[in-house]
C-alpha cells in the first residue's frame, strides 16, 4: 500500500509575487486535492480606514508595482461616485482611458514577453537556465526588441499623463488633474505605429507557436468554465468601464449589464480556512458550480466584438474553432492576452489622434454620497473596489476584489488537471514541476510585489506524509 503524501511546489517562479502549490496524493497514489496558496497578506482594506477619501486612489496603487494604474483608476472611479459624479467630462474620461490602455499594454507585454513566451519559445521541458527572458534575448533578439519597446511605450503613456511610470498621479474624485499636452501627444505619436505593428508581430508569433503544438496546448490544464468580464452597452470589449457580463461554458448569458452597485447581488465570496484568498462565485449557480474565470480569456470570450480593427480580426480568428462558443484552453490565455495587448495599442493610437485629450474641462463635482463602487478590467481581469465614507470624509469601510482572487478556483483546478495528467509514479519530476508552473503562470497571477527572478529561481519541492512529516525534499536553483 502506498502512503498518502503531499507535493509542495514553493515558490512558483515567474509569477508576480510568491505562491505555493500543494498536491495531496491519495493512499492509492492518485492525485487528490490540490491547493494553490498565496503566502503573503497585504491588508489594504483595513489600513485605508480612517484616510480621507481623496487620498485613496494614491494609496491603493501601492498594492502593486505592475498594475498600480488599475488600482489607481478603479479607486478613482469609486470616489467619483462619492463625489456625486456619475459621468466625467469627455476630456477627463479619455485621459483616464489612455492611461489605462497604456497600463494594459505594458502589463500584458511584461507577461507575454518576459514571463510566458519563454515557455512557448523553448518548450515547457526546456532547461530552466534557458527558458527565461534572458534566453529570449540570446536566441530571439528581435522578440526582445519588441518586448522592451512595447513595455517602454506603455509606461511612457502612463508617465505622460500621470507624471511617473510607476505609481502615477492623475485621477482625482470627479476627474483628472491634467490633460495630455500637445508636446506629450506628439512625442507619443512618433512611436505609436511601430508599437501597433510589433504587437501584431507578437500576435503572429504567439499563434505560430501555439499552432505548432496545438493538440497538446489545447488540453493542457484545460476545463470548461464560466467567464466574467466588463462589456460595453453595445457588446464591445471595454477594458475601462461597462456592465458586468457572465457567460456559461456554452456561451449562454448568465447575467449582463450588471452595475457595480449590485455586485454583491450576483457575485458571492466563499471563505476557505486554508487560504488568504477568497473564492468568488456566481450566486445564481451556487458555490459548487458558480466559480468562473476572468482575464484575457474572459475579456475575449464575453464581448460580442472589439472596436479596433486588428484586434477584432484577431478575435474572430481566435474564436473560429469554437464556432462562436467560448474558447476554454487554459494556455490560450496567452493568445487572448496578446489580442488584448494589440487592442490596447490600437486604442492608445486612436486616442493620440483625438483632440478631446487636450480639453481643459477636467474636474466636476456633485452632491456627496456615503458610498461608491466601481470596477475596471485590470490586465488580469475584473478588479472591483467599494468604499464607504463618513461625514468627515474619512473611509470607514473598503472592499477590494482583485482579478487573481476571481481566478482562485480556476488556478486550483488547472493545477489539479496538470497534476492528474503529468504525475507518473511517485517521483517529483522536472516535467511535473515545470508544468505546474506553466499552468499557474497562464493566469498571470499577481500575488503582490515580491522579488522574483527572471532567470533561475529557487524551487523547493517537499513531500509530506499525512501527519506533516517530510518524506522527501528537492531543491532547484
Amino acid at each position: 500500500m502506498i502512503e498518502a503524501r503531499k507535493i509542495v511546489v514553493d515558490p512558483v517562479s515567474r509569477v508576480e509575487g510568491h505562491g505555493k502549490v500543494t498536491i495531496r496524493l491519495n493512499a492509492d497514489g492518485s492525485v487528490g486535492e490540490t491547493r494553490f496558496l498565496v503566502v503573503e497578506f497585504r491588508g489594504f482594506e483595513r489600513f485605508i480606514r480612517g484616510r480621507p477619501y481623496w487620498e485613496v486612489a494614491m494609496i491603493v496603487q501601492r498594492l502593486c508595482g505592475i498594475c498600480p494604474v488599475s488600482h489607481h483608476l478603479c479607486a478613482a472611479k469609486a470616489m467619483d461616485k462619492i463625489a456625486g459624479v456619475d459621468r466625467l467630462t469627455v476630456a477627463a474620461d479619455k485621459v483616464r482611458r489612455i492611461m489605462h490602455y497604456g497600463q494594459v499594454l505594458q502589463s500584458n507585454a511584461v507577461h507575454f514577453f518576459h514571463l510566458a513566451s519563454p515557455d512557448l519559445l523553448f518548450g515547457f521541458e526546456g532547461p530552466v537556465e534557458k527558458r527565461n527572458f534572458v534566453g529570449t534575448i540570446e536566441n530571439y533578439p528581435e522578440v526582445a526588441k519588441w518586448a522592451i519597446f512595447v513595455r517602454k511605450f506603455g509606461q511612457s503613456v502612463i508617465k505622460a499623463v500621470g507624471g511617473k511610470k510607476i505609481h502615477p498621479s492623475l485621477a482625482v474624485p470627479g476627474g483628472v488633474n491634467k490633460n495630455l499636452s500637445i508636446a506629450e501627444r506628439d512625442a507619443l505619436r512618433i512611436d505609436a505605429d511601430r508599437v501597433v505593428a510589433w504587437c501584431g508581430d507578437a500576435l503572429e508569433l504567439c499563434k505560430r507557436l501555439i499552432r505548432e503544438d496545438a493538440a497538446r496546448l489545447e488540453a493542457f490544464g484545460t476545463f470548461e468554465s464560466s467567464y466574467v468580464s466588463l462589456v460595453r452597452a453595445d457588446g464591445a470589449m471595454d477594458l475601462y468601464d461597462g456592465g458586468l457580463r457572465a457567460i456559461g461554458s456554452d456561451g449562454a448569458t448568465i447575467f449582463d449589464g450588471v452595475t457595480p452597485e449590485t455586485y454583491d447581488d450576483v457575485i458571492g465570496d466563499e471563505v476557505r480556512p486554508w487560504s488568504f484568498m477568497k473564492f468568488p462565485y456566481i450566486r445564481s449557480l451556487g458555490k459548487e458550480q458558480g466559480w468562473f474565470r476572468v482575464g484575457p480569456l474572459a475579456q475575449v470570450n464575453c464581448c460580442d466584438f472589439i472596436d479596433t480593427p486588428l484586434a477584432e480580426e484577431a478575435r474572430l480568428d481566435f474564436k473560429r474553432p469554437g464556432g462562436g462558443k467560448p474558447i476554454h484552453a487554459t494556455l490560450y490565455q496567452h493568445w487572448a492576452r496578446v489580442i488584448c495587448m494589440l487592442h490596447a495599442a490600437e486604442k492608445v493610437k486612436e486616442l493620440l489622434y483625438d483632440d478631446d485629450l487636450q480639453g481643459e474641462d477636467l474636474v466636476i463635482s456633485g452632491e456627496r454620497r456615503p458610498e461608491g463602487a466601481a470596477w475596471i478590467e485590470a490586465p488580469r481581469g475584473v478588479l472591483y473596489h467599494r468604499y464607504r465614507v463618513d461625514g468627515d470624509d474619512l473611509v470607514t469601510n473598503a472592499k477590494l476584489a482583485v482579478a487573481t482572487t476571481n481566478n482562485n478556483e480556476a488556478i486550483n483546478r488547472s493545477v489539479n488537471k496538470v497534476a492528474i495528467d503529468y504525475l507518473t509514479g511517485h517521483e517529483i519530476t522536472d516535467v511535473l514541476l515545470n508544468n505546474i508552473e506553466v499552468a499557474v503562470r497562464a493566469y498571470d497571477p499577481c500575488l503582490s510585489c515580491a522579488t522574483h527572478a527572471l532567470g533561475d529561481m529557487p524551487l523547493l519541492v517537499t513531500l509530506e506524509a499525512p501527519d506533516g512529516a517530510i518524506v522527501a525534499t528537492r531543491a532547484r536553483g
Binding site: 518576459h114 537556465e129 533578439p141 522592451i148 513595455r151 509606461q155 522579488t451 527572478a453 527572471l454 532567470g455
Partner: protein, 154 residues
C-alpha cells in the same frame, strides 16, 4: 541620466531627486528618468545615448558623492525584475541594440533610510554638490565624469 531609488525611504530617493532636478535644468541633449529602480527598458535609452549617468543613493562611503565608471556586464543572465544593475543595463544595450555608451555611476551619500518621505539635511547638501558637478560635466567640455569630478570631490 537615470536616477533611481525609493523616495518613500527618505535618502534612498536621492537618485530620483537628482534626476528631477536635472530635468528642471532643461539642459540641451539631456534626457532624464526617475524611477524606483533600473528597468530592462532603460537599455533602450542607453543605446540611444553617448553617455549614461546612473545616479543612486550610497549607504556608505565618504560624502558628498562618489563617481565610478560602469562597464557592461558580460553575463546578462544575472538579473531579476526587481533588481537590475547599471552594468546589466549596459550589457543589454550592447547585446540587444549593438551599442554600449560611456557610463558612470554617481553614488550620493545618504544617511536616513527609514519609512518616510523627504531627504535628510545632510543628504540634501550632498545632492546640491552632486548636481553642481553633473551640471559642470554636461555643459562644460565633453570630458568624462571621472575627469571632471577630480580627486577632491570623490
Amino acid at each position: 541620466m537615470l536616477g533611481y531609488g525609493n523616495p518613500g525611504r527618505r535618502d534612498d530617493g536621492l537618485g530620483p531627486a537628482a534626476a528631477e532636478a536635472i530635468e528642471a535644468m532643461s539642459l540641451g541633449g539631456v534626457r532624464t528618468s526617475a524611477n524606483y529602480q533600473l528597468m530592462i527598458e532603460d537599455a533602450y535609452d542607453a543605446a540611444q545615448s553617448d553617455l549614461v549617468i546612473f545616479i543612486d543613493a550610497a549607504k556608505s562611503g565618504a560624502g558628498p558623492y562618489s563617481v565610478s565608471p560602469v562597464r557592461p556586464a558580460t553575463n546578462v543572465s544575472a538579473f531579476a525584475s526587481h533588481v537590475v544593475a547599471p552594468e546589466l543595463v549596459l550589457g543589454l544595450s550592447g547585446r540587444v541594440y549593438g551599442h554600449v555608451p560611456r557610463a558612470s555611476l554617481i553614488g550620493i551619500r545618504g544617511y536616513a533610510f527609514g519609512f518616510d518621505e523627504g531627504l535628510s539635511a545632510r543628504a540634501q547638501a550632498n545632492l546640491s554638490r552632486a548636481l553642481a558637478h553633473i551640471r559642470h560635466v554636461v555643459i562644460g567640455p565633453r570630458e568624462t565624469i571621472e575627469q571632471a569630478a577630480g580627486g577632491a570631490l570623490r
